[in-house]
Symmetry: C2
């Protein structure tokens, strides 16, 4: 199923509720397929396929340890999603509210933002 042509991107990978649930389950822990499967009613094979898709999208990585394959969350590709989102944020938010959030949630520093026009 996993073709080298990277058939699945992040957008497709997270479109499926089962796969989102798998990601949630993997937050923090590194788990073998069987343990992940135990959270669902569907078969191990089905979950393995979902893991392949998530793996293609680089949202998880698997390492084989003994007879188990341990899967781990790899959240970096979500950055792409975040960037995509940020483009639309200005339409329901105000761009500066993003900055506001950063400032407010920043524990140990103060952030100053100066916006200046740039000539054509």
């Amino acid at each position: 199923m996993a073709n080298s042509a990277e058939k699945y991107d992040v957008f497709q990978a997270i479109a499926d509720p089962t796969r989102r649930e798998v990601l949630r389950i993997l937050t923090g822990k590194e788990l073998p397929i069987s343990k992940i499967t135990s959270h669902f009613t569907m078969s191990r094979t089905a979950i393995a396929k979902h893991l392949h898709i998530l793996s293609e999208a680089k949202l998880v990585s698997g390492r084989k340890v003994g007879r188990e394959k341990l899967y781990q969350l790899q959240p970096e590709p979500l950055e792409e999603l975040k960037q995509w989102l940020s483009f639309y944020e200005q339409f329901w938010n105000n761009k500066l509210s993003i900055l506001k959030h950063v400032v407010e949630s920043d524990g140990g520093s103060r952030i100053h933002v100066i916006k200046t026009e740039v000539e054509k």
Copy 2:
């Protein structure tokens, strides 16, 4: 195709590249189906279906004006996506990367960020 049972959620709606492109085209403007279609090689019917899906996910709204149906971006449901994302942010997060997007996605201005430490 469009069942009242809301078959499509935001995650599924944005999974398709054509639909993401439609959203991008609709940023700012309100456009009739035919105008939207002119950006693609596929048929108007195909685009109409995509618009139905986007409509189910409440990412666009359409109003009929004369013989045209004008569609408009409705970005609010993307908030759900943002919230979903925020849960995973802590796992790769470098807070300043948020600022980086703001800077990079800003067309006509330059943003300077000065971060200074604050005494405990």
